[in-house]
């Protein structure tokens, strides 16, 4: 197979423990890609000969961003709801029904066009691994359609039949559906199952309901994820620990016991705390206390939560900038959370770093250092480096 040498890397973030610091940082570096994998990283002067070569002229190179929480398969616009919140209305989750109605009514071609446009938009900003959830179908046929479409873009497909109880459907009957026939129909199409565990929302699921959803999904062979502790204190984080979920997402309202449970589980592969600061920005809500989680030893990930209601952004660089400026993370912590931490939230060891053997998913910055991702907010600095021999997702 062809080997490809990337030279002129002003700063290379590898997370390789044989390189310096928490980021495994090299300056004046090069790397070799072979068979779509990282085959070598090191100083430019020691680079081996290769069949092809790309020079990045002093730019910083990082692992491509991993976005472990998105809702990219939908139709319809909720900018009116956004404007209403901009005039003071509070988010309760009720707007999801608007997207469900539009999504059910849309044909596959429309949904596919929306999905591929957003996935390309994310990739253009340096995201090389995306998790994508269903959850705007909420009936068997539409949930299956959404999962099949998501699989066109990623292997990280999540069944979110338990997003909300759909309008006009009995709660108990829907719970039976989502843990029974809908799960049976959807489990073969997904890697993960997720639930919106939020007693504060009238449309989401309480502790017993969420446990039932997650236990059924685990029995069906799916990995577990939880939307929890977004709108108020609740059982989400504790359930994620109890049931061995890979991630609990949002984590805006955590008790001391929640943080302790996440910290205790962390050394044993417990849930990653996936923070979604774009949601707090877009809904004008308090940001999660990232420092408290990091200081307790919990692995933190960042994600966009890209969705038409509460954060219609595909920008991982914005999430890094918000993590530093609004959540008091250091730049290194934020970059790790958007790459390695996010990969852990998907239980992936082949992405989110550039150690030997990793997928050659590369993000290149129009800047000399990873620090510029936070130092230069809003400026489109990041893009996916497309090279021969690299594999796309």
């Amino acid at each position: 197979m062809t080997s490809h040498l990337v030279t002129g890397i002003g700063e290379l973030v590898t997370f390789d423990p044989t390189h310096p610091g928490p980021l495994g940082l090299l300056t004046d570096a090069a790397l070799v890609v072979q068979d779509g994998r990282i085959a070598w990283t090191g100083p430019t002067g020691s680079a081996p000969a290769c069949d092809a070569r790309t020079d990045v002229a002093g730019a910083a190179v990082l692992p491509g961003f991993v976005d472990p929480h998105t809702h990219l398969v939908f139709d319809g616009d909720r900018s009116a709801e956004f404007e209403a919140r901009a005039s003071g209305a509070r988010y309760t989750g009720g707007g999801i029904a608007v997207t469900v109605a539009a999504t059910r009514a849309a044909d596959d071609e429309t949904l596919r066009a929306n999905l591929h446009r957003l996935a390309a938009e994310a990739r253009a900003q340096g995201t090389t691994t995306l998790e994508i959830k269903s959850g705007y179908g909420l009936d068997v046929v539409t949930e299956q359609r959404l999962l099949r479409l998501a699989a066109e873009v990623t292997s990280e497909v999540t069944f979110l039949g338990a997003h909300v109880v759909p309008q006009g459907v009995d709660r108990a009957a829907y719970l039976d559906l989502v843990t029974g026939p809908m799960l049976t129909a959807c489990a073969p199409l997904a890697r993960w199952a997720d639930v919106f565990c939020e007693p504060a929302s009238p449309v989401a699921f309480d502790e017993d309901e969420s446990r039932a959803v997650l236990l059924a999904a685990a029995r069906a062979g799916l990995g577990l994820r939880v939307h929890g502790n977004q709108l108020g204190f609740g059982p989400g984080a504790r359930l994620a620990v109890e049931l061995g979920a890979a991630s609990v997402d949002h984590c805006t309202y955590l008790s001391d016991a929640d943080v302790a449970a996440l910290a205790d589980a962390a050394p044993h592969g417990g849930p990653v705390a996936t923070l979604l600061p774009g949601v707090e920005l877009s809904t004008r809500s308090p940001f999660p206390d990232a420092r408290r989680l990091l200081d307790a030893g919990v692995e933190v990930a960042l994600a966009t939560d890209c969705n038409p209601g509460t954060c219609f952004s595909t920008s991982m660089p914005l999430m890094i900038a918000l993590a530093v400026s609004a959540m008091r993370m250091t730049v290194a912590e934020a970059v790790r959370a958007a790459t390695l931490g996010a990969a852990h939230a998907l239980r992936r060891d082949d992405v989110g770093h550039l150690r030997i053997g990793a997928r050659a998913d590369l993000c290149v910055l129009d800047a000399p250092s990873h620090r510029h991702l936070a130092y230069r907010p809003g400026v489109p600095l990041a893009r996916t480096l497309e090279i021969a021999g690299g594999v796309g997702e």
Copy 2:
């Protein structure tokens, strides 16, 4: 001269009072550019014949953004200071000396390359009018160099000799210089003068010093601008009103009397309140209370304050998103503040709107509505529409 028709405008923001609403909004619209000016706007079906044509396929079109506060001529990197703040250090203005030293040491070619790169970066994101300040020279020769370089990019050149008292220079002696020989040397090269009026900063200027700076500048024929009320309560806003400044910038700490003074002066062309939310984001500071100003009837502008210390962003779309999400402005107010309001802060009537006769400075979005500037934070949606017959700045 050639006339140019732009068609397929899904939504057109004109600020033309003959079109509907506060934004003068048309849907399914077209516009005609002749001699670099807007010659016609209206519904697609009524568009006149032209010599050339561009179709924007349903995109939203706005007046190009006006960024009325930037510091784009400098050398040196302050990402280390940024990282220190990310670990808890507070901004006092002291870091400006780092940029002054690097800028004085840089040759014109280096400064020019930095400036043109940043100006192009801003233009690529939809900014078509930029104000640019000096203020990293703080000696006669270097301030002149910075003003001459700024004039390569814009006619909105601001002399900011009174940025800070340079290290190792006596305060009174520097005040004599900046109101005497330095002003005489620099006034012919600038349209505006500005002062960092901030008693809370040990390096900035107090009320009497600021008044002396501004009065001397007015006598030298320069229009006035003020950096005021950024780090604490102070005299900046009141001075701006007293001396007829076009704008007072920052406005984070305003007393009731300050707001009343700005509101009283507003109907008589008093100072625009130019808010710089990227600074608050990057320095982890409280955001200005935009609602209080708007509700009092003060004209508000948005700017990036692009500079290497407190906000190294050229992104007016980010400022719009922050205005809505962090400063409780409506989307329409934020779009106006980034275009028409910002033009007023520069006392320009030829930009910031698309009324007949305006400069044909156009921003096109990869989105169907201006609302997406706030609804889709961090996503690079805006770009300057380059058409034949348009004039660049």
